[in-house]
Amino acid sequence: MKEQDIRFLRSVFAEYYSNHSEAVYVPPPVNSREIGFAVWPDRAMVRHMSFRSLTDMREYVLNNTPADAYHSCAVYEFPEKPMEHKSALWADLAFDVDAKDVQPDCVEEMTYSVCPKCGSHRRGNKKKCPNCSEESRTVEFMSFRCIASTAHQAKRLHSALIEELGIEEKDIAVYFSGHMGFHVYVTSKAIGELGPDARREITSYLSLEGAMDSYSPGKSANLRTIRAGGIGRRLQEEILDVVNNASQHGDILEDDGVSLLKDNKQRILLALNKGKIEDIVVLLGIKRARKLLRRAWQRAAIVVDPSVTMDIHRVFRMPGTLNSKSGLPKQRVPLDKIDANVLSLIPEYGRSEVQVSVSFAPEVEIGDRKVGPFSNETASVPRYIAAYLILKGVASVG
């Protein structure tokens, strides 16, 4: 990255922090958490720091404008010591819901191979530019569609935490990561003392990993569980959804299956209410019933990254700080705002315009602005969008 670009990024970051440093936040107890930063120009990691208070930390961030800021989910006796001497007391139960896991095809679609020299671009991961045989850069652009499906998963996770795992709503916080994911924190002492094995089991449960095939017809079809709580209820909701929107599932049901589902809707709903999968088999035939259940089963899984939740020593991006993948802040999102429009919630900063030369970028829609697509051109864009393009490696100031 060019020196003038780094200077520009630091000025945008500084503008954000000088107006919004009160948004910088670490869940209590602040002084017992490990804090880490990635610092300009090369974004090298500095770890094992700790701060006495939120005020001290905000002041530090304001004065140092880091590229990224992190806090540990764990609460330590000695947060600033090396890992083996920190001595964890407990840790937030944290989930990373990311577009790359939720909808890999969507992320792939937004992944381009861009030549920094001539701006030629192609989908996917390719090494050399065909025009000037320059080394291409792989760029993952942000996309509404990917954020929308990821938001949906975050919402489902939120409700499963409450309804299934019995966690109180006040103990849950949902954040938009500033890029293509959501971070969900559960801060409660009882849950906080769970070890890695137990955390691993929770993610398996949420994603239905290791669940027996017992819900499928022909098998012992665990009829009592479908009516009771947990996965049974999740599965029931998804079956209902497929039945209610039968025509969207023509790919597996085929035309006659779709009409059969529509004609028998009331009877299927009745069978579901009784928890009788076998009745659905009678109505639809075993093959179609299986397909219906398999689809519902896939949709009932809640996708989270298990290695993140399991690792209690992991650091998470600090709420209220900017993400150097996008230049956008990680922000708490109220329950009713968890959707693709999270980008419209970003606060005011970097609104004045600046000239940038862009090699390539698809249309960008962040905040209230929609710009692009760009191809080897100079354009005037708001500073926060310029920062986004520069951080993606496809633009330069001037």
């Binding site: 089991e201 398996s204 449960y205 669940a211 947990g230 290695s307």
Partner: protein, 328 residues
């Protein structure tokens, strides 16, 4: 009460009669209790079992008092492997007794302050719910497919279990309770002569037992995937691995070239080790017995299904534990 010497009543009873911390064991009266306490540990090592018969019930006082004596002896030897072995044997004994008399289950749970709720439903009997955190804390060692949380009814933080399953969860809870007791710091406590003698005797027995186990287990930590590393470490700590976990580990070690004797010395760490059974199982897995069919170690997908996958960043692109390499 003599059946379950760890329960609160027993603690109080023992407290009234003598207090181990005071080291004022009245030898003459309690010679029998000390002998029985020694036997509890001795049998746990030799037979992986603490024997119990109705005669023990007649010698009620002795039986109850022998428990803190046994705990004291284990604490004195101060070896995690022995702690695990003894706690496992005691817990198994309790669980066998609970199975004989299911009325005991609720009573024991109450005594251990283990929260549960009986569920009444017209179609099912003997169901209860326990707290999710307790389920997660006390079921891991028992995990087979049916124990996976995904196969459980989980509602508002409560998990549905049958009373038989509940007894197994309590077994784990009992084991941990006993383990914790054996971790008490007993250095500097003045002991009565008879107990000192028994400690020496037990130390000899234990030294002899451990001599049969090679202390160093060959392990190249670099290219052992975290899932297998975790199993090996739990094994060497003397934790009780489930059948699936053992089979997984042994088939993996056999595949990376461990010899049968090397594997046997690892298996000897298990708290319920039995030479004959272990060798039989080993030969079965490595294909020397049965139809000559070798068990190959499970793939990553199967490991996930078992709940035994604990990936790190080098696991990202592999589908089989044998393919794990740390590339730096």
């Amino acid at each position: 009460m003599a059946k379950y010497p760890f329960v609160r009543e027993a603690r109080e009873f023992v407290g009234q009669h003598f207090d181990l911390n005071l080291a004022e064991l009245p030898e003459s009266e309690n010679r029998e209790a000390i002998e029985r306490g020694f036997q509890r540990v001795y049998q746990a090592i030799r037979r992986k079992k603490v024997p119990f018969d109705t005669q023990n019930m007649i010698r009620y006082d002795t039986e109850v008092v022998s428990f803190p004596v046994a705990v004291m002896l284990v604490a004195l030897i101060n070896d995690d492997m022995l702690r695990n072995m003894y706690a496992t044997a005691e817990a198994k004994r309790c669980s066998e007794l609970m199975a004989q008399d299911s009325a005991d289950i609720h009573h024991i749970a109450d005594e251990l302050e283990f929260h549960f709720r009986v569920v009444t439903r017209e179609d099912e009997q003997n169901l209860l719910t326990i707290r999710l955190v307790d389920y997660l804390a006390f079921s891991p060692q028992l995990w087979g497919e049916k124990w996976r949380l995904a196969n459980r009814t989980v509602d508002r933080g409560e998990v549905l279990v049958t009373d038989h399953e509940f007894a197994r969860i309590l077994e784990e809870k009992i084991k941990r309770t006993i383990l914790e007791r054996t971790r008490a710091d007993v250095s500097g406590i003045k002991l009565p002569t008879l107990l000192v003698e028994k400690r020496t005797e037990l130390a000899d027995v234990w030294r002899e037992y451990k001599a049969a186990i090679q202390p160093e287990v060959r392990l190249e930590p670099r290219d052992i995937p975290p899932c297998m590393n975790r199993l090996t470490q739990r094994m060497t700590k003397g934790e009780n691995l489930s059948h699936v976990e053992r089979r997984t580990l042994v088939s993996y070690l056999a595949a990376i070239g461990w010899t049968e004797e090397e594997m046997m010395s690892l298996l000897r760490h298990s708290p319920d080790f039995n030479e004959r059974i272990a060798r039989y199982q080993l030969e079965h897995i490595t294909g020397r017995r049965g139809e000559g069919k070798k068990y190959s170690p499970p793939s990553c997908a199967t490991m996930k299904m078992y709940g035994l996958c604990f990936p790190d960043k080098w696991c990202d692109h592999i589908r089989h534990p044998l393919k794990y390499r740390r590339i730096t």
